[in-house]
Amino acid sequence: MSNKDYTTNALMAVTASRLLEDNQNVVVGLGLPQIATLLAQYMHAPNINIIYEIGVINPEAVEMGVGIADPRLWYKSEHFTSFAGTLGGLLQRGKVDVGFLGGLQVDKYGNLNSTLIEKEDGIRHFTGSGGAADIATYSKNILAIMKHQKRKIVDTVDYLTSVGYLRGDNSRQDEGIPGCENITIITNKCVFTFERGSKQIKLESIHPGIELKELKESTGCDFVVPEQIKLTDEPTDKEIKLLDTKVDPNHLYI
């Protein structure tokens, strides 16, 4: 089943795609989230519903775009609505099973920052929330895709844009925030999930070829390491072929 001819991005996309189930409603963004969702549709989840927060449902894009504001991503849609329609009528309404997120930082409880970085000479302001804060509040499962860097996976985020498990334990629930079943962080080095009770970040699997030592050095917070460290399942030939031929033939993201 192994296939050494794949990029790390392909591994990340495949890992994310396998976490998606058929008939789920998924809020998707451009790039790896889109790639992962399309792959899942080809592989095992043909009835996934795709939601772009801008107000687009179930398009069948034939070209990659530059963002969800690109009409390329709206091709052959089933419904057009408003921001209130997607984030209110679907997300807050409890209809979203999986939300993809990214960001500048994630912390040990899965909280995400997409707003700003504190530097010595002041703050540096980036993209901000958009729907990210709302997706973190209301989506039943969160899939975050991040670059693995010490300054990106941290003890405490500089700015909490999107709630994960807040301060761990029951703090999310105590704050009155709707429950989140699973938060999964997929990086270019490993997959993190969170301990059931304490909600501490834990190593779920390590990507083939990555050493634990390297992982610890490039992570800005402690994480739970299981006794038996699992290897992230590698892509199958079929998955790689689909990525190469159907999902991202121009290799924009893979």
């Binding site: 009409p71 709206w74 057009f80 329609g85 958009g130 807040l166």
Partner: protein
């Protein structure tokens, strides 16, 4: 028929010179009312209290041009072209007051405004620094309080009814019945505003509206003024009309990174021109413009077979 058609100059002229409360319809690099916004810059409106769901090229232009005192939004970008750096830097340098929301909380405020509900309860923002910052800044439009039905805690978001909303759409008739094709993120904002100005690619007949009644997004009762502005959102895209101007956006995403370059862009392309046609002449040529025309059924300019 009640004719609400006017020119961009006339419409902008109706907006007070200072401190207008204004909402903008653009989303990153699509349907930004660029023609209207550039005229606001030309007429040197100042101290705008600006509202938008997603920060976009239109608001970046306004903030960069010094027209904005306060900006409420939920973040934004120029998609892969770059960032809204005039806004980001203005925030970092404390040059504007900023109120940062999430997409849902901004949308709910407009939704409430569109029904004149005084406020809406939501769980969103709980636990975030977005909420902490809003409360720390004394934003009176957000209150955390319990439900009238139980002790459950909710974030109460006050309805937003700005004095003016400016959106760009595909079609409207002279009465102000508006058709928005594609996603309609700005629909509630348009209905919430006390005055709605709509720039459109084409003014159509009332007969066209009645024959396409199921596509009418905003009925005329909400509309104050209609302006025909072909390519009025360019270099941002308009679904079914034209694609974004990649070169012009690349250029903008470069020059918005520092004061000098932006100042030059503004002086030459906006203040140095008298109307949107002249602005278009500055940022692209006719071939560049016509090559971006959308193909029916796609709604954008698909990659040519040969490319």
């Amino acid at each position: 028929m009640n004719n609400k058609v006017l020119t961009i100059k006339e419409a902008v002229n109706k907006i007070p010179d200072s401190k207008a409360r204004l909402a903008l319809g653009g989303f990153a690099i699509t349907r930004c009312p660029i023609a209207f916004v550039n005229e606001i810059i030309r007429q040197k409106k100042e101290k705008l209290d600006l509202y938008q769901i997603i920060g976009s090229m239109d608001s970046d232009l306004l903030v960069g041009s010094g027209c904005v005192k306060k900006y409420s939004y939920s973040g934004g970008s120029l998609d892969r072209f770059g960032r809204i750096e005039r806004i980001n830097q203005a925030i970092a340098n404390n040059e504007i007051e900023v109120r940062e929301y999430s997409g849902l909380s901004m949308s709910l405020r407009f939704l409430a405004g569109s029904y004149s509900m005084p406020f809406v309860p939501s769980k969103t923002l709980l636990g975030t620094d977005i909420l902490n910052n809003l409360l720390k800044k004394g934003e009176k439009d957000v209150v955390v309080s319990k439900s009238p039905f139980s002790d459950e805690k909710w974030v109460y978001l006050k309805a937003l009814q700005p004095d003016y909303a400016i959106i760009h759409a595909q079609y409207a008739d002279q009465k102000g019945n508006v058709i928005i094709e594609g996603p309609k993120w700005d629909m509630e904002m348009a209905k919430a505003a006390k005055n709605l100005f709509v720039t459109v690619e084409k003014i159509v007949s009332n007969e066209y509206i009645k024959n396409n009644v199921e596509k009418v997004t905003i009925p005329a009762l909400y509309t104050t003024g209609v302006i025909e502005a072909p390519y009025g959102a360019f270099p941002t895209s308009v679904y079914n009309f034209y694609d974004y101007g990649s070169d012009a956006l690349k250029e903008y995403a470069k020059i918005n990174r520092n004061d000098q370059d932006f100042e030059k862009y503004k002086n030459e392309n906006i203040l140095g021109t008298d109307n949107h046609y002249q602005y278009l002449n500055k940022i692209c040529d006719i071939e560049g413009l016509l090559n971006r025309q959308a193909i029916p059924d796609y709604g954008y300019q698909p990659q040519r077979g040969s490319k």
